[in-house]
Symmetry: C2
Subunit: 355 residues, 2 copies
DNA sequence: TTGAAAGCGCTACCAT
DNA sequence: ATGGTAGCGCTTTCAA
């Protein structure tokens, strides 16, 4: 049953050609007569011959593989859903360029060791860095290892040059906050990611900038930096809503605490979009959870997928041309807003103009 | 900068041992003196020597890699969030067993070709089949290719033996529907996945079984089989809620249409958990969206991750022992219910007993 | 335009 | 318990 596939030696003998010529024909070298190439290509299809990837990788010294490291915590059984979309976008680009995608799932404590091993084993030609911290040690590590890499996001306190692709988190959060201020909100809670995460810092800066520009006092009691779990959203919102001087609006850094916030609002007998405004932001996107015009959740994720494409392309380019100028790209944050507020079109307009 | 790592030849010369002995020591062969092994292991650590994976794979004829194919549609920019958790769970097991995870992202039309190529290139030792249809052609294909594989889910109309790991979708949906019936609901809408998906068929069967066992007529106008998009949930719920004889409860097959349903309910000026009950089911789990007792969303995903572990382990076992008896495992569906209905504890009890 | 043959870095068989 | 060496299946000089 297990039909052992044929190898180059057998295949070339079958054609009455040398392995060299067949290899050349298959790999698009120019010095092969066109008629020969066609013959080889046809025969390959007919006999279902595919060069063995393992041999190819050894011979060329390239893995033709990009590594993504996904650190998971034993404690929090939770993966950011954003990850799936990002990977999907990146994977599209890899497929188009003949690269494989190696996904390494590791305990978050052994992340650095994982990068090290991936490189020294020669399993990958390049790596993607996910979720950079404000000062991320992985950047120095990968530089030291001499492996091409691209960061999805940035690491603000690192001052060496490195490739990154990021969205304008600060501006996105500034706009969202301004929008809520325009609606008349004065007490706006911010449920942000951990303070050492770069994206969280930038988002927080946008939130603060918006408040300050309108002379609204920044209340530290409304700003939270925690791991983005559902419970974080639920407990925080519940506490705030049942206390004095409750906020009238929430901005959440991810859909996961956002779900918790929704529960808390519902539990409090309040109605979202009427009694309380909620904006949930996920990489590259903000939206109102009760949007009526378009599928907000879908839009979020589609946008993340696009980011994945950009990052992957940047890395492939870097692998092909190691000495190319450092790639640093800023993606515009896409914002989708709902009509339930009655003012969404205005924001949309503002954003389009802001483009 | 790019320190080209040393190879076995150099490393063994450095030690004054043969490549053979070093290789044996590194790979745990018994015929090496323990003192020699320690010496080798220490030196490897000291000189940072890691055997080249590309050479190893060629020499052993094994890829030590498991393939997951993720078909994405160009039309629907959406990946089921479940996928990330499943992958995370599987990846844990792979890491523990020295396997790499190769994720192949392909356009959904070229899915079969992707499996074919992965195998004939020799890039993987085994494959996971995601999202099986009622009669899935991939099972015959992989059998023909002679590659070990495990299906996450089942393919009901296939009667040959193959490995699968599935949750009890029928029972889960039957229970959920019974629960809503117990609450007094008589018009319960079911927003299910596409009719050719195996999980959707089983879930539909559970829903129908519950209604029939209580002598509640099954209304075809309340059953929907579509792709699980946010818009599907939104438009369907909106239409139903604004029409005559609107349902008082919804059961959704995935969180994605579930988000749409929530929007529609909110838009209609209704409150979830009070005016309308909603149960959203995702692989292996059901929950009420306004659960107050525990983080439902997190529980869903944690459960999916567990499924990923089971599937991965089954495949690894199969690769190690191809002639082992066919692995077929049924995971119990975990159900989480919220207190907002006031009757959740009763259901929880029922479920616990049902175990 | 084609071919012969030397690697790529490791494993595993056969000796010792 | 250790070593020599022939592959694994391909790419890539170097020759013709």
């Amino acid at each position: 049953m297990n039909k052992k596939s044929m190898n180059l030696k057998e295949f070339s003998e079958l054609l009455g050609l040398s392995q060299t010529t067949v290899s050349r024909a298959l790999n698009g070298y120019p010095e092969v007569r066109e008629s020969t190439r066609l013959k080889v290509l046809d025969a390959a299809r007919a006999h279902n011959y595919t060069p063995n990837a393992r041999a190819k990788r050894l011979a060329t010294g390239k893995a033709m593989t990009i590594g993504h490291v996904l650190p998971v915590s034993k404690k929090h059984e939770m993966v950011n859903p954003i990850f799936a979309d990002f990977i999907a976008g990146a994977g599209e680009i890899y497929s188009d360029n003949g690269f494989d995608l190696l996904l390494s799932v590791v305990d978050d404590v052994s992340e650095e060791a994982s990068y090290r091993k991936l490189v020294s084993r020669g399993a990958v030609d390049g790596l993607i860095v996910h979720g950079p911290k404000v000062n991320d040690s992985r950047i120095a590590l990968l530089r030291e290892l001499g492996v091409p890499f691209v960061v999805h996001g940035r690491s603000t306190e690192i001052d060496t040059d490195y490739c990154w692709v990021d969205v304008n988190n600060k501006r996105a959060f500034q706009r969202v906050t301004e929008f809520l201020l325009d609606l008349g909100h004065r007490r706006i809670a911010l449920l942000n990611g951990l303070a050492d995460m770069d994206f969280a810092t930038r988002r927080g800066a946008g939130y603060v900038a918006a408040l300050e520009s309108r002379d609204v006092a920044v209340d530290p009691a409304l700003m939270f930096h925690e791991e983005m779990t559902e419970n974080f959203g639920y407990e925080t919102a519940r506490r705030l809503l049942s206390g004095d001087n409750a906020p009238t609006a929430f901005v959440a850094s991810s859909i996961i605490p956002g779900i918790g916030i929704r529960r808390a609002i519902s539990d409090a007998g309040l109605t979202m979009g009427r009694d309380v405004s909620v904006v949930i932001h996920d990489d590259a996107l903000s939206y109102f959870s009760n949007d009526g015009d378009e599928p907000a959740f879908t839009a979020v994720r589609s946008s993340v997928r696009q980011a994945g494409r950009h990052v992957a392309q940047a890395l492939i380019d870097r692998i092909a041309t190691p000495d190319a100028p450092v790639h640093q790209e800023m993606l515009e944050a896409v914002l989708t807003v709902g009509r339930s507020t009655g003012q969404a079109p205005a924001l949309r307009q503002v954003l389009d103009q802001g483009k």
